[in-house]
Amino acid sequence: MQPYTKHESIAAAMNRSNVDTDQIIPKQFLKKVERSGFGIHLFHDWRYNDDGSDNAEFELNKPTFKGAKILVVGDNFGCGSSREHAPWAIADYGFNTIISTSYADIFFNNCFKNGILPIKVEKNVLDALMAEINANEGIRFGVDLENQQVTTPAGNNFSFDIDPFRKGNLLSGLDDIGLTLQHVDQIDAYEQRHKQNFPWLWA
């Protein structure tokens, strides 16, 4: 996992509520043998026309939102099935931050395993952020996880809450494997003893 660093990025607005994981990544893409490469299928059914061309009507296809890392989106984002393919697709597309009023539980948890920061805000804050983006598409928001702050050009700044343990993991880029590897000295030492005790396993 990449460590989550302070950044200033384009914020894309999707004024839709209850976006479920089936929309985020439709089921026909789950049979892949990879964990990567889901980004091109993100929001597939909205994003592409039947002939495979880009749907110009879809928010994220707007040139002004190209390269966005921050997704500002309506209530209850990520509901539906538990598929981890959803955060895989979001991260692979390039988002590392989501701002919404609420998230489905499993999806919320899955975000942290994949280096995505899901920020919860009050409804009035979300409305203000949406309005600011709509008035001036392509603007950049600043996200400072360390200080739990989001800043915007129009000054719709706010601070957010986050579980300290998860914050630490995002900042350090540590996933479960990363956590274990903090004990790598102990693993190395164990392996040395292992080689002495069970030499036939290392022959």
Binding site: R35, S36, H183, I187, H194, A203
Partner: protein
Amino acid sequence: MKKTMYEKIWDSHLVAEAAGQAPLIYVDRHLMHEVTSPQAFEGLRLSGRKVRNPHSILATMDHCVPTKNRNLPIADPIAKKQIEVMAENCRENGLNLYDMQSPNNGVIHVVVPEHGFVHPGMVVVCGDSHTATHGAFGALAFGIGTSEVEHVMATQTLPQKKSKTMLVRIDGELNKFSSAKDIALAIIGKIGTAGGTGYVIEYAGDAIKALSMEGRMTLCNMAIEAGARAGLIAPDEKTYAFLQGKEFAPKGAAWDQALAYWQSLPSDADASYDATVVLNAADIAPQVSWGTSPEQVSGVNDVVPAPESFSDEGKRKACESALAYMGLTPNTKITDIPVDYVFIGSCTNGRIEDFRIAAEVAKGTKVAAGVTAIAVPGSYQVKQQAEAEGLDKIFIDAGWEWRDPGCSMCLAMNGDELSKGQRCASTSNRNFEGRQGKGGRTHLVSPAMAAAAAAAGHFVDIRTL
């Protein structure tokens, strides 16, 4: 303090125990197949991590491989892709893979013991719940998920919660028509599919000591169906004799050193367990499952139970829906249940001993009209051995199909499957709805019972043959 075998293995594999985190245990052997590994490799690649100990891994292709026409390209494009990706991942990471064309190919839990890759006292994992099989060697062996597969590849360790211990003692002597499979089913019938939840089961007692290594593997294989994390059997002379001379077994002076260690592993006398279950081997009749859970099982001389016979509300409901799915009415004699299909194979009963026993029953018989019977060796080595003994002829003469190895109808992922409503006598381990094909009906039995059912067209009490 007196220790159980589980505690000895646990203690000797503890790497770290940090406050607020699960204990970290070391993994000696990591087994792999094509279905649960691809995203784990991808995860490694994305994070720029490497396989820590490639030599700890043995991989095979088994779940979606065809069991006939192996020379032709795989028809299912998704299965084909999985096979190709597996080969590529193993090549890229320098892993030992028994691919579809290898003479060593077969079902992972059949192949691994054939090469002596698992020894007593090891911690063994695989992205597959039937990893429990290897407990037959006195190794702590259990199934893990795809993210854990990645975790083990990267760190050679796993964060684990310590299990409770359960002693399952089978006293006395098994009648000659019952087998390890019947012991496994009888235990699950007694303690239920959640009976072992949170436990590692240690099987002991005279009837266990009397089992061959093949039988012990069959028994441990199904520890998972009893809900346990793993099954364990103390290593003894049979274990050592089985391992000696195998490719990955220690040799020369190393053998003596290993042997001394292995002999220290059995539970101390008077070690205490969190739970104990005792069965009398003489009471275990050949078993037949009648429902859609391995705990829904009876002796072959019994009848299909009525839902009312269960005092527990949940079990009554489960019985009702199982009978509806299975198309069975209460009080039908088990021996009156007809079969359309017979499958001998899987990591539960796809070893040489299983085919020997089944062939003995099948010899001189004919598969009943309207019945399809397939024999699927657990590995090419089993297939070759069986052919050397002429067992293939016996099956073919009796009207069976003699196939190439693979998981086949155990989980019906490779195209070998039941059609809706078809009823199968199967030596596999799970009789869940749809496991052998949508709408298919599975009855779990031993190889001898399966072979007898093929000839009769219905279940038979093999004790009366």
